[in-house]
């Protein structure tokens, strides 16, 4: 059987957390499958990053070439395609990240290989690889089994496991780039940093965050009143910023900010993992949501299952009374 090929992800000179997280999942799976883990790094000037990945005990293959100075989905697809032919890995594992989603599905089609996207766990038993993934923003879990194939493609959700401790050093081996010439049909232009707003919510002590449950713009006034009463800043989920209710620089989640306030009040936020990933550093979490099964309650310290608009007016009144 071939190895588990883990594509380590990096950007702007640093490894992404998902790279370490996969090193918590891959060795266990390799043990069950009776194979080894091989890490793959594709980039330019990769020596330091290769050393960091090798600290997890597996062999690290490095495609180090100026052509890969910046991520390019088409180039990555070409490299992986060639290495799958060469190495015949049993599994190719990447992150379900902005990089992973940009080329793995195309690779699956090109190589006619099965793909399970955004697995949260993997299990190999009786010759079958199975993945657990989530549907409906985390309200439903699915068990998906791979039919037998030469190589299984799987992407892993970010933040589902803690990175492991470093182990013995693995070997680092450079491999020739399968890509000889630059591409003309897709090119990297630049990175644009996220906009900076008037309030830096990553520094806030108290945050009142609203989601889809806010329903409409005009309902924001009662939230502002609450925020004022407890000297909180207002933040929002992706749904709230997409709708234009909350400025984009106040979005909490994977595509926004990671916050760590002393108190986080989530109102009308279902708590999809993308949001939770951005607020799990909060010390105390209060969640108010109509749906008793809302995933936000899994990270809450205090929970109210109810319509936020029935709760908030009285909450403001009582807070004012108690605080004098």
């Amino acid at each position: 059987m071939g190895n588990i090929l883990v594509l380590a992800e990096h950007r702007q000179g640093a490894l992404r957390d998902i790279s370490y997280e996969m090193m918590a999942l891959a060795p266990k799976l390799a043990e069950d499958m009776g194979c080894e883990v091989t890490v793959l790094l594709v980039g330019s000037k990769m020596d330091d990053l290769a050393k960091k990945m090798a600290a997890y005990g597996s062999k690290v293959l490095v495609v180090d070439d100026p052509l890969f100075e910046n991520f390019n989905a088409e180039k990555y697809q070409k490299v992986l395609s060639a290495l799958i032919d060469d190495l015949k890995p049993a599994v190719v594992m990447t992150g379900q990240t902005a990089q992973g989603v940009d080329f793995i599905p195309a690779l699956a089609v090109e190589k006619n290989l099965p793909l399970v996207a955004e697995a949260i766990s993997l299990e190999y038993a009786n010759g079958t690889l199975k993945a657990t993934r989530q549907l409906y923003s985390g309200k439903v879990n699915a068990t998906v089994a791979f039919k037998p194939a030469d190589t299984y493609l799987v992407t892993i959700r970010e933040g589902v496991v803690e990175p492991p401790d470093a182990a013995a050093d693995g070997a680092v081996e450079k491999v020739d780039s399968p890509l000889k010439d630059d591409l003309t049909y897709r090119s990297f232009v630049e990175y644009i940093e996220a906009e900076v707003g008037d309030v830096d919510i990553t520094q806030s002590d108290t945050l009142v965050a609203v989601g889809r449950g806010l329903k409409e713009d005009k309902n924001l006034s009662i939230i502002e009143e609450l925020a004022q009463a407890i000297r909180a800043d207002i933040a929002g989920s992706r749904a709230a910023t997409d709708a234009g209710w909350i400025p984009h620089d106040r979005q909490v989640g994977t595509s926004g900010k990671s916050v760590k306030p002393k108190l986080y009040i989530a109102m009308g936020i279902s708590g999809a993992f993308q949001h939770v990933a951005g607020m799990k550093g909060a010390k105390t979490v209060v969640a108010i949501n109509k749906d008793p099964e809302a995933p936000i309650f899994t990270v809450a310290d205090y929970a109210i299952v109810d319509d936020m608009f029935k709760v908030v007016p009285k909450l403001i009144e009582k807070l004012k009374e108690l605080k004098g």
Partner: protein, 262 residues
């Protein structure tokens, strides 16, 4: 600009409990209202904005039942020109690679500059269909796009990465772009548009009509099996505050004040 926009009809489960049917592999969607997938709604708007700026023509493509016609008509009311709805139970809907193959069959053989679709479906959330579709069509792509600039023979796409960082890429046309939510402000359909949409062509086709061998996009062709759906246990250590809404509010206020949290 000749464009296609691929959209999906999904249940709104954002504030409701989801239950799994006794078959163990489908959810009970009878209590939910259905509408266009959130990200697809932004893709429709983007296609209409491009059409308004550059002139052109937009064809809606969707796989779904008759009741999704209302969604398709709405997209046409906003400015899309015609539509193809693939209605065929033999497509393995759990596998985005099979879905992409069926969508590609409705587009292949026709000229186009851009295919737009949402970057993620709110129901099964693979974020895979659009990128797989690009490969099926043999064209360029960029995923999770938050801004589109159409240039001469090229498109400049701003991809949204983690932490709000944008990666700007340039692609030669034709290309597939998967659109991220928040890229624009989806319009409401004007009354006149709703009337006009009734007269626009909405072709309903089967796999056979598209010349697709049903076996090539069905469960047998799919290399993954959806074995089981189940509701994950909500492992909550939260203190659930009980009572009428106002009581709950009062109790929460006391907890926050007494705990020194506010």
């Amino acid at each position: 600009m000749k464009m296609f926009v691929c959209i999906k009809y999904v249940p709104d489960t954002s504030e409701a409990e989801v239950k799994v049917n006794p078959d163990g592999v489908t959810v009970d969607s009878s209590r939910f209202s259905f509408d266009i997938n959130d990200a697809d709604n932004y893709a429709v708007e983007e296609s209409v904005l491009i059409k308004e700026a550059k002139e052109g023509d937009v064809t809606v493509v969707s796989i779904g039942p008759k009741k999704s016609d209302v969604m398709i008509r709405m997209a046409m009311a906003k400015g899309c020109d015609q539509a193809v709805r693939i209605e065929d139970d033999r497509i393995a809907g759990h596998d985005p690679l099979m879905v992409a193959k069926a969508l590609a069959a409705a587009i292949k053989g026709q000229e186009f500059d851009l295919v737009l679709t949402g970057c993620m479906a709110s129901d099964d959330g693979h974020m895979s269909t659009g990128v797989a579709l690009a490969e099926e069509l043999g064209v360029n792509h960029a995923s999770m796009v938050k801004k589109v600039e159409v240039l001469d023979g090229k498109v400049r796409a701003h991809r949204e990465l983690e932490g709000g960082l944008l990666e700007v890429v340039e692609l030669e046309l034709p290309a597939v772009l998967t659109i991220q939510t928040g890229i624009n402000e989806p319009r409401y359909a004007p009354i006149r548009g709703i009337r006009q949409a009734q007269k626009k062509e909405l072709k309903v086709v089967s796999l056979d009509d598209l010349g697709v061998d049903p076996a090539s996009v069905g469960s047998d062709a799919s290399m993954v099996v959806l074995e089981e759906l189940y509701i994950p246990e909500v492992e909550s250590s939260a203190e659930f505050i009980e009572g009428e809404a106002e009581e709950k509010a009062e109790k929460l206020a006391s907890i926050l004040v007494k705990g020194g949290l506010v």
